[in-house]
Amino acid sequence: MISLTDFLIVSAALFCIGLYMIVSKRNAIQILIGIELMLNAAILNLVAFGKYDSLNNSGQVFALFAIVLAAATTAVALAIILNVYRRYKTIDPEEVNKLRD
């Protein structure tokens, strides 16, 4: 069978790709995709460890919760990005540097 270490290595690599996207991209939507990658790495860890708990299914249930929370996060983040675009005409986070009034 596949050992836990394999899953952990894959999810570590995925997490670092997400981290790279968040730090380097100058576009709010791509930063959002990077956050989704990091969330998916965490969910992969939850699922991999959840295999060793068939009584309570804690890993898989909390993976489900994390997926649902990611959906809520994305909805709110996209609404905020659309608002920022409407106000600043750009979604580069570096140029969004003014508060209201």
């Binding site: 394999d6 981290l19 939507i29 791509q30």
Partner: protein
């Protein structure tokens, strides 16, 4: 080298390769579409970890919900948004990307160290689980058990998350409405 192992390597290669492509491509729309592939391959990895229900939920919610939402967000917001989004030079290896690359690489080394140090397959509770035989087997009925657990043991977090989801969706609808002329 069993078939499961080969499938695991294929799936994880697809996940990592498409994630690198998402991170390095210039074209935003293409990167979103490649992100579909990453999510599908991740669902395959979940199946290999014996979590079929989570894999189906991943496909339904991530691919069906989140990605379509992201695509809608800039398909609906007009042509000039799309043009603004496109014009940027992001090659993977330019001098401006170097700090991010170094940060991600060092973080990866640290995490690999942690992974090899904790030696996850020999943790105490995992050995206990193997000994008391509560490891999920490939022919177990996991989904029934998840449903029962969700409605008994995890009822409080379930309700809390349903309220939070409702608040988030109302908030998103409120944020994205057009401002009235004041």
């Amino acid at each position: 080298m069993t078939l499961v192992r080969v499938l695991f390597y294929v799936m994880s290669f697809i996940v990592l390769a498409s994630a690198v492509f998402v991170a390095s491509t210039k074209n935003l729309v293409r990167s979103v579409f490649i992100f579909f592939i990453t999510l599908f391959a991740l669902a395959g990895l979940y199946v290999l970890a014996l979590a079929d229900f989570v894999a189906i939920t991943q496909i339904v919610i991530y691919v069906g919900g989140i990605l379509v939402l992201i695509l809608f967000a800039f398909m609906l917001s007009g042509k000039e948004t799309l043009n603004t989004l496109q014009q940027q030079n992001n090659r993977l290896l330019s001098i401006g990307r170097l700090p991010a690359l170094i940060l991600a690489g060092l973080f990866f080394i640290v995490m690999l160290n942690v992974v090899f140090k904790i030696n996850a397959d020999n943790l105490n509770w995992i050995k206990d689980a193997v000994r008391t035989n509560i490891v999920i087997t490939p022919n177990a009925l996991v989904t029934d058990n998840i449903g029962i657990n969700l409605m008994t043991r995890y009822l409080l977090p379930f309700e809390a998350i349903s309220i939070l989801l409702m608040i988030a969706l109302v908030g998103a609808a409120h944020l994205s409405r057009r401002e009235e002329t004041e």
